[in-house]
Structure formats: C-alpha cells, structure tokens
C-alpha cells in the first residue's frame, strides 16, 4: 500500500512515525522563516501564522511602554505595518527581532503623538483590569527595559522562557537571566519590606 503512494507522502508518513525528537532548537526558527518566505511569495494567508506566533510578544513590547488600552489597538497596527513592509525583509530568519523593533518604534511614535498629560494621568484602561493587575503592571514598567519586556511576556502573556527566546531572538541564557533578575526586582517593587536587603528597586 505504502509503495503505491507518491514518494513525498511516504516520506511524510515515515517522518510522522519517527520517535519524538528530544531537542529541535531551530525548528521554530525555520518555521518562522518559512512563513515569512511564504508571505513574501504572495501567500498572504501565511501571515496569520506569524501573527499567532508573535502577537503576544508584540503586545508585551507595547504593554511595556503604552497604556494597556492602547497596546491592544497597536498590536493590529504593528502587524498591518509588518505586512506592508515584509517584502523588504532581507533575512526571513530575522523576523522576530524585526517585528519587535517595529513594535518598539510604534510605541515611541504613539507616545510622541499622545498628549503629555494623558500619559501622566491614571491609565484609563478599557476594560478596566483587576486592581492588583494594574499595581503589578506599574511595578513591571518600572523595571529596566530588558527585564520589563521579558517579564511581561512571561507573567502577562503566559509565555515560557524557551518561547520568549524564540520570539525575541534572545538566547535562552539571556532570557533566563532576565527572568531571574527581573523577578527579584519585581518582588522588591511590590513588597519592599519583604525583599532581601541587597535587592533594591531600581
């Protein structure tokens, strides 16, 4: 039966029955690059795959800088901009860093256009999140940028360390350090009395 099947399908069946691979670090990167290439070739629907992989990371980058209400809106803007410019992306594997950079720039543009008073005021979140969520978010935003983005990806978006590494282009080691140190600082921010003496908030 198998012999009668086209060669490509036989290979696919064989691949599907392989024992699980313990570690395939570059698979996701390859997938992303393949998706980017597909979009660049005109397969517009493939962009949905990129969105599903990166929307949380993009949102985290935005949430680290702008109001929660605005961050939600800006996610769509960032991806729309990425779709418009993706043909210019020379290295498909560079997509993670490229789109997160785009998100950072979009956040900066947004803050520049926003009225200064609106940023200083209490954030008018719609819908209003839980009060403790706002407290935690304020503390997260007070962290240095590297910790801030990584921790928001972990604590808000629910991404794991390996996922953060894949979506940001950072090495797993860097992500681990950012999470660990950032968490210590965050604890100090949220509970100054309970934090160890040597861990002051920045």
């Amino acid at each position: 039966m198998i012999a009668a099947l086209p060669e490509g399908l036989v290979i696919a069946v064989q691949v599907a029955h392989r024992p699980p691979v313990v570690r395939a670090p570059d698979r996701s990167k390859d997938d992303v690059a393949a998706l980017v290439t597909s979009v660049q070739r005109g397969e517009r629907a493939a962009f949905g795959g990129l969105y599903s992989r990166f929307h949380r990371a993009v949102h985290a980058v935005l949430l680290a800088r702008v109001r929660a209400e605005d961050a939600r809106d800006l996610v769509q803007d960032v991806f729309a901009q990425a779709l418009e410019k993706i043909a210019d992306l020379q290295d498909p594997a560079a997509f993670p860093g490229w789109i997160l950079s785009m998100a950072r720039n979009r956040a900066v543009d947004h803050l520049r256009r926003a009225r200064p008073s609106s940023e200083a005021a209490e954030p008018a979140i719609d819908p209003p999140p839980r009060v403790e969520a706002m407290e935690a978010l304020r503390a997260l935003r007070a962290l240095p940028e590297a910790y801030r983005e990584t921790l928001i990806m972990r604590l808000v978006e629910g991404m794991t360390g390996p996922e953060i590494a894949e979506r940001t282009g950072l090495t797993p080691e860097s992500v681990r350090v950012n999470l660990h140190r950032g968490m210590k600082l965050l604890r100090a921010q949220l509970d100054p009395e309970g934090a160890p003496a040597d861990e002051e908030a920045p």
Binding site: A60, A80, P128, G161, L190
Partner: protein, 463 residues
Amino acid sequence: MSDDYLWDKTGEPDPEIASLEQALSSLRHEGEWQDPAAATSAASPPASSREPAKVVPIAAARRPARRPLWLAAGGLALAASIALWLALAGSTPPDPPAARTDPTASSPEPLPASNAAPSTAVPSPPAPAQLACSADADGFPFEAAAPVQCAGSPARAGKLPPDTWLETPESTTATLRVADIGAITLHPGSRLRIVRTGPTEHRMELVRGSLHAKVKAPPRLFVIDTRAAAAVDLGCEYDLRIDDQGRTDLHVLTGAVSLEGKGRSAFAPQRTRVVADPERGPGLVLADTASFALQSAAARFESGALGALDALLRAATRTDSVTLWNLLPTGSKGVREKVIARIDQLALRARTIPRDRLLAGDPDTLEAFRTDLEDLWFVAPPPNTAPPPDEKPTDATPTDPTPKDRKRDAAPTDEKPTDRAPTDSRRDVAPTDSRRDVAPTDKKPTDGKPSLRRRSTDRDATW
C-alpha cells in the same frame, strides 16, 4: 523561588509568581489576525457582521474608529485586489458573522463548572416545542400568563428540558420550578436555559434579561451562569439582571451568593449588591446602605484609579464591612495593609484573627474573619433601619454604633470624606480587640433563624 517554574512552568509553582500570573492574565492579549484588506472588503455589511468578535481583539472591536487612517484610505483598492487574489487562489472568504458571538445564541454544550462565556457556544438545532417542552418532557415545569417561547415555539406551560431555551416576550413573566429546591421568576424580555441538572448541581444560564430566584438548598447546588460570572447560590433569594453592556447585576435579598468569574469571586450576603463585568468579573460588594461617597470611590477604584482606595476606606463604615472583607482576598498586599488598618479603626477584627495572617492573605484566616463578620451581616438588624428608640439591637456590643450612629452612617452625606474619618475613628476605634472578648463569636442568633453562618459555607449544608 522555583527557577524551573519561572523558566518553563515546570516544577512546583512559586505561589507569588502564580498569583502574579493570575492577576496579570487579565491583560493578556487575545485575538487572531484580521487581514486589513479582508476587513475593508467587508465594510458594506452591517456593523454587527463587520467585525466578528471571534477574530477581533475586544478593544479593537469597541473602537473601530481608531483604526489607522491609511487602512481606510487604501481600503477600496485593497479590497478589490484581495477579492481578486482570493478568487484566483481558491481561498474561502472569511467566516460569516459568527452566531457564536451573539450572547443570546443558544448552546447545546453544557457550560463547564468554571463558567464559560456564551461566546464559545454554537447554535443548537431548534427542537419542536411540542416534544421538547410538553408536560411529559423531562425538565423543570414552567408556566406563564401569556405564551412564552420554549424551544422556539409558543407555550403557556410545560416542562423545560436541559439545553432548551425559554424566552419571555416583553410583556410576560414566566415562573419556573427548579427541581424541589426553589423557583425562578423569569422577567419579561429574558432568555434562560438549563445547562444541566442532577443531584449534585442544578446549573442554568441566563443570557438576556433578569430573574428573581428563591432557593432553599445546600450551598453550591444551584448555579446561574451569565456571560460575566456564575452566581453560586449559598441558600438565598436574589435578583439577577444582565444590563445592556453585558454586565451582571446581582442583588442579594436573603442568604448569600458567591459571584464567581474571570478568576475572581465575590461573597455577597443579604442586602448587598455586586456587579460583574464580562471582562474582569465581579467587582466590589456594596451594602444596600453604602453611602454615595463609598459607591463613587468604589467605582473609581474598580476602574483602575488606585488613588481612590483611600477615599473608599475613608467612606467605609462598620456597615460596609462586607466591602472591606471582599477587598482582602483579591487585593495586593499593599491594598490589604490599608484595608486592615481601616478594619481595625472600625473595631471589626477580633484578637483571634491575627493581623499578619490576614495581611498575608491566608485563606483560613480570611475564612475565619468572614465567619466573624457574618454575625454583623446576617444577625444584626438591617443596617439602614434604626430600631425604635426603646429597642436595642439583640447582638449589641459595647462598640456597636447606636441607632443614631447607624442612621448617620447610612445616610448619604455631603461632608467630605476627609471630614468623616475623625468622626468614624472617634466613634469606632475604641477598645478594638476587646469587643470580641465581650461578645463571643459563637453566640447564637437571637431571632430564631437557622445559622446563616453555616449556610454560607460550602462544607456545611443545613438545609
């Protein structure tokens, strides 16, 4: 700290991280890619079908006007090119407006115990009313003065089986008997169904309108789901209403209800009200007698204005202990610290409730504290009702406010919150902890009613 859990969510969860995750999850981004070209090409249909909630982030759906201008400007050209592209590629167009996003859509699937939103429901095939809602059907009996819709067909009486919708027109009320535990009055313009019924749970879903429920059953046997929360009956009578914005407004008349959803829960005893938002779940529980100042501060606090907490606490009196208690399980440590300070000012905490454990959010201590406070919530006369001059409250304690004080507490006041604090503290601070020494917490109700304290716990069913 568990590095493994922080790194990849394996290993033993760090409680603080897990708590942060839970709190912050309300800010998590949800949604799927919506091709701007596809969205623009669908610009002509009605608004309800233009942006199906299934694929559009909620905030974006609420503010379509905030979409970038360039999208609108280039919309028509993109629409034409994408339509051509779709035709050539043989792709299917975007899904039609999803009935599953309609909060009034029916669902054949039982909702999970954690309260699922109707947005995940799919339409169920209409069932013939004669078969589905006949008197021989296996379900809850209902009747109405004028025809109501059962399974899509008119009926004045019959039985409502599970997974079948009962709808009242704008001019008719229907009554529904819930097994042998109570009854529901379904008000005009409402839509209700039984999700499941059995010896351990009778679960219903209200997607539109309002109802009055009167139930005499063990705690948690009767539950009503809405889009915003699940009203878990703890033995009580209450009104439940869904407003135009999908919020669930619960007003408890007797007994207690636990309103649960979006990872939060609010304990609402009799003569209190709580509103649950579809996005953030239950809000603060407010006594019927809550002053305008307290209501106003609570609204601002819930909308994210953390600075309103101080005003809220200043406005809270002893009769608002239910509001203060409900701030403890959900608030952060900083919030709890301020709330406990106010609680102590009002002499609400007994010496048997350790401050440090309360501050740490220890569930057992919170439960014990709630049990103590239930003496005030259930046994005391209605806070807003001043007894006759010659009648003293039966559970009066040395620090209980006098009837005059009660009346003053309950009345809306024009005085500034900052002016209230000294007054309240002068009256209430008194021998804070000695109060409980004088009035033991295990005293029995003097009104002959069964212990509502027992009724309000999950462990003990007294009915």
